[in-house]
């Protein structure tokens, strides 16, 4: 099995240098590691803004009935 697959994105050289300086003082191994980490955090935050429960009103009534029968509500 191979290692992870990577691609390249471009960021301004000045930003790269700025991150490089920051990274030297943290536990990150490289600018790429840092950028990956930060992007994942931000992307997950945006993704989680969209969500709908997968069940209908009728399902919901059934669920509440069961929860009541079991004494949870």
């Amino acid at each position: 099995m191979g290692q992870g697959k990577y691609t390249t994105v471009s960021i301004p050289k000045s930003l790269y240098n700025r991150i490089k300086k920051l990274v030297e003082e943290t536990g990150f191994k490289s600018v790429s590691d840092y950028v990956t980490y930060v992007l994942r955090e931000v992307v997950a935050m945006h993704e989680s803004e969209r969500y709908e429960e997968p069940f209908t009103e009728k399902d919901l009534e059934e669920i509440k009935k069961r929860l009541k029968a079991l004494g949870y509500i």
Binding site: M1, E41, Y51, L60, I73
Partner: protein, 382 residues
């Protein structure tokens, strides 16, 4: 708002009534993969969305990413392989076929075979368990019990293994509604496979002080010899919640799952499962999901740093203990006294006290809980 499911959508893979009777009516015509209890529970967890976003068993691309990068091929955090294996001589199907996954001759799911690939046992064990030592139960399973090929593909749930604790069993769609009904916005999940002593209770209540509710979620599945039996754990927790938790501050329900004992990796998996039940937070204790001394006591806490996008906040605890000088249950960050004042909570101590019929002090186990443990003629797995 309760936590979003992992991957943004709660997966429900339950066969419709029509589909179910069509498949079961023609069951003889399907190739069959015989699965064990571990996979039987996995099937159920996929079907009900406990493993969202998984909608089936892993194909090669996902397993490879999980092993090498602790992520699915779509980049979502995922640390535990969820796979089904077969031996070559029992493989009478190919990619594109539909097969039945049967446990003890009972079809539990139908799977669309999307991928068949060889299991690299050594790599699997090294990456998941961090060792190839066969005295590790997970490694033993990989080398001695799993077949040589893995079969990946989406499943539809047809049936589940009998559940003697059905009244304690809630699916993610149910817990999510329940949390909402209770008006909880922040929920902390607690994983356990033990009867509660005061150390557990204080961990839970410390976490509970900062959130709306606690989801106590014992794992029911095959256990190790000497573990408390499931019915004892559930009865003990019921008593604890009834007598020591404010009304409507705790939900006790089980998850059916077989422990892998993969320490840090499994801690992440446990957190993801609870996220899918609706938890916003998850308690990670000392040696979480560990076995023997394969993992450092706080390795399972360290690993969370690698997942800024997990979508569930880990809550870390060190060990609680009773301090005579403090006169209460404390932990090392709030107690300045030396070891001679401290009484450590120990499962072994509790076990021995029960076996010898000795009283357990009420600063170690609540009397109502002790009564449950003592009243069972045979509370341990043999």
């Amino acid at each position: 708002m309760v936590s979003k499911p992992h991957g943004g959508r709660l997966i429900i893979r339950i066969a419709s009534e029509n589909r179910r009777s069509a498949v079961l009516g023609a069951a003889d015509e399907y190739p069959v993969i015989s699965i064990g209890l571990r996979e039987a529970y996995d099937v159920e967890n996929i079907g009900y969305g406990v493993y969202s976003p998984l909608d089936g068993f892993m194909v090669y691309e996902d397993l490879e990413n999980v092993l090498m990068n602790m992520r699915l091929s779509n980049d979502l955090p995922w640390t535990m392989p969820i796979v089904v294996s077969v031996d070559e001589d029992s493989m009478d199907f190919g990619v594109g076929d539909e097969v039945l996954l049967s446990y003890m001759d009972r079809p539990l799911a139908v799977m669309q075979v999307e991928d068949i690939y060889r299991l690299d046992r050594r790599l699997y064990a090294e990456r998941v368990f961090g060792t190839t030592d066969p005295s590790h139960p997970g490694v033993y399973n990989v080398f001695r019990e799993m077949g040589e090929y893995l079969v990946g593909g989406r499943i539809e749930l047809l049936d589940t293994v009998d559940n003697p604790y059905a009244r304690f069993y809630l699916r993610p769609m149910e817990t999510r509604v329940l949390f909402r009904e209770r008006g909880w916005k922040t929920i902390v999940g607690f994983q356990t496979r033990n009867a509660p002593h005061l150390g557990h209770e204080y961990v839970q209540k410390t976490a509970l002080s900062f959130v709306d509710g606690i989801f106590i979620n014992p794992v029911v599945g095959r256990k190790k010899r000497g573990d408390f039996k499931d019915e004892v754990i559930l009865e003990a927790y019921s008593e604890l919640v009834k007598h020591y938790y404010p009304k409507d501050s705790a939900v006790l329900s089980i998850v059916r799952y077989e422990m892998r004992y993969a320490g840090p990796r499994e801690a992440i998996h446990h957190a993801i499962m609870r996220k899918n039940f609706g938890c916003t937070h998850f308690i990670v204790g000392r040696d979480h999901a560990g076995v023997g001394d394969f993992y450092g006591p706080y390795d399972a806490q360290e690993i969370f740093r690698e997942f800024p996008d997990l979508g569930v906040t880990p809550v870390f605890f060190k060990e609680f203990f009773y301090c005579r000088r403090c006169g209460g249950i404390v932990h090392e960050r709030i107690c300045p006294h030396d070891e001679s004042n401290r009484v450590r909570f120990s499962g072994t101590y509790v076990r021995e006290a029960i076996l010898e019929g000795r009283d357990i002090p009420d600063y170690i186990v609540r009397p109502e809980v002790a009564r449950v443990l003592m009243s069972h003629p045979d509370p341990f797995v043999s």
